[in-house]
Amino acid sequence: MKLKQGSFLWYLYLDKIYCLLSVRNVKALMEYFQLLDVHRKNTLNDVLFFHFLHHVTNLNRPQIMIIFDMLDWNAVGEIGFDQFYMLVCILLSHQNHLEEQFIYRHSRPVFELLDLDGDLRISLDDLKLYNFLFNIKKQELKELYHNFDITGDH
């Protein structure tokens, strides 16, 4: 996954330690979000979200829709600014090769996002589904599960 060079998101600066945007950057992002929010509902529907992500990244349609479903965890068919902000932070951390740092700093929100069925467990399949977003290698995933799966039920 790559951000389109010269796009608006490309100019945002992600703090390398906290993996967050500055207040000024968040304000700018909010203005950007409001420009895209044409129906004035403080949300983006799937069509707008797809065209936004398709425009600023090289992700394909299935990948974009997987992300949309992940962010729209309560299935309202729209995503708000909170989710949008988190997505932008994930994209920027990927762009800056800070995925590990991002997961370390925001482990709980990341866990909640990846825990699709809400049973407080992330399966190997769930993680494989999103490895394009967090850039987790297959071998690393296997090792991770081997080390932490103490109950042996995967």
């Binding site: 203005e31 420009l35 044409v38 129906h39 069509v47 936004f52 600023v56």
Partner: protein
Amino acid sequence: MEEKPSKASGESLVHHGSEESHQQSDIRKLWTTATLSQMNLNLPLSKVEEWSDTDGSSFCHQKSGVDPGDNNFKQELDEHTLSKLELHRGRSLGSNLEERESRTEAEKSSSMSSLSILKQTPHRAYWAEQQNRLPLPLTELMENEAVEILTKALQSYRSGIGKDHFLTKQLQRSIEGLKKRRNKRLHVS
């Protein structure tokens, strides 16, 4: 016979008290103006005191409405008060000429420095606005990108829900609004 001196001392006390309170308030006011008009706040204390002293004398005369050259003002005060005032004002109650000079100098310096501050530092509201506003190139980039994304979304809307749907119309209106805003800015610059 005995009452007179006590009365006189009472008067002097009243005079002294009122004068002192006047001077205290004067000094306090001038202290703030003096610090405001200074560009460099790390000045030595002696220098600041010197400034406030000269300013203090000029302000006192202005407020009392008496010309510095008028001797009636001095005659009204008894010796005790005068000596106290002497202590406070220091050399400022010396010759009238010196006093006038120092007053004009102080006024000049304060007005000059406040003018230079006005020229150098922008107004607070202007500064806040500058801090809160996005840089113009970034705003332009943002709007151009939004127009591109929304135009693509409009095509999807038209093919998906039809061109007469209110959501399609709403989207079209917002694209037109963005384009208008962009053209306006282009014409201004």
